[in-house]
């Protein structure tokens, strides 16, 4: 069996790359893709932990399903932004989004 610490470390690397992507991206869709990479990191770490053989009394599945549910909700948020910005004929560059400024 593979050591779970390796899974957690690789998951952490993916998570860090996702955070870097969110910080560095300007395009709205690319930011959402970066968040997906963060979720992938979380899932790899969670599965690595689960496969270590430690009994979690089923609580692991709640955590994993939570991650997947949040990932699915994020896609709905993206569609919402897409409809909103298309309706206002705005660009997808987040650095040009200033309509909420006071």
């Amino acid at each position: 069996m593979l050591p779970s610490i390796d899974f957690i470390a690789v998951g952490a690397l993916f998570f860090a790359l996702g955070i870097g992507g969110v910080a560095a991206s300007r395009h709205l869709v690319v930011i959402m893709l970066a968040v997906e990479i963060m979720f992938i990191g979380s899932i790899i770490a969670a599965v690595g932990y689960f496969s270590s053989g430690i009994s979690t009394n089923g609580s692991f599945f709640i955590m994993l399903m939570s991650i997947w549910a949040v990932a699915s909700s994020e896609i709905i948020v993206l569609i919402m932004f897409y409809v909103y910005m298309k309706g206002r004929s705005e660009e997808f560059d987040v650095s040009k989004m200033n309509s909420l400024k006071g």
């Binding site: 869709v29 990479i37 709640i62 919402m80 897409y82």
Partner: protein, 159 residues
């Protein structure tokens, strides 16, 4: 040993493809790169003998990336430059990765202690507050669907 080697090869491959999500000028190609990362992550999960979870990961990919591809094609515009600043990306990545990996691997008590700590944290959080987690997920879904409905009305009023 072979499994460990395969695991690290897949992890390196996945990481390499994940950088294409940010280095590509086309959002469509970035979404395809993300689909490949999902596939590689599913293979990584398969290496831990969790076949069911690996298949679930693929199913999430089919649903999620399908939607992303549609949005990416619809929002595709010609761009001369990348959508992400690579210097900022790798600077933030280096700092966060150093902090996370050091806290996991560089623990003087050893890797076993880290896993035990995570175990106690998860046991405490999820066995005591699992109803709250369900509630949060329900609220998130409701908020997401509700926002789409509200937005549709707003767009109708504006147009």
């Amino acid at each position: 040993m072979i499994l460990l080697l395969m695991f690290y090869c897949l992890a390196a491959l996945g990481f390499f493809i994940a950088t294409f999500v940010f280095s590509e000028k086309s959002v469509y190609k970035a979404a395809i790169a993300l689909a490949l990362v999902f596939t590689v992550s599913s293979l990584i999960i398969l290496l831990s003998s969790q076949v069911f979870l690996a298949v679930l990961q693929l199913l999430i990919m089919v649903g999620g990336i399908g939607t992303y591809l549609i949005v990416a094609v619809a929002s595709e515009t010609e761009s001369e430059k990348r959508h992400a600043g690579m210097a900022t990306l790798f600077a933030v990545f280096a700092v966060i990765a150093a902090l996370l990996v050091y806290s996991i691997v560089g623990n003087p008590a050893g890797a076993g202690a880290v896993v035990q700590n995570i175990n106690s944290e998860i046991q405490g959080a999820f066995s005591t507050y699992y109803l709250l987690f369900y509630l949060i997920i329900f609220l998130m879904f409701s908020a997401a669907i509700g926002s789409v409905v509200l937005l549709k009305r707003i767009v109708n009023i504006v147009t």
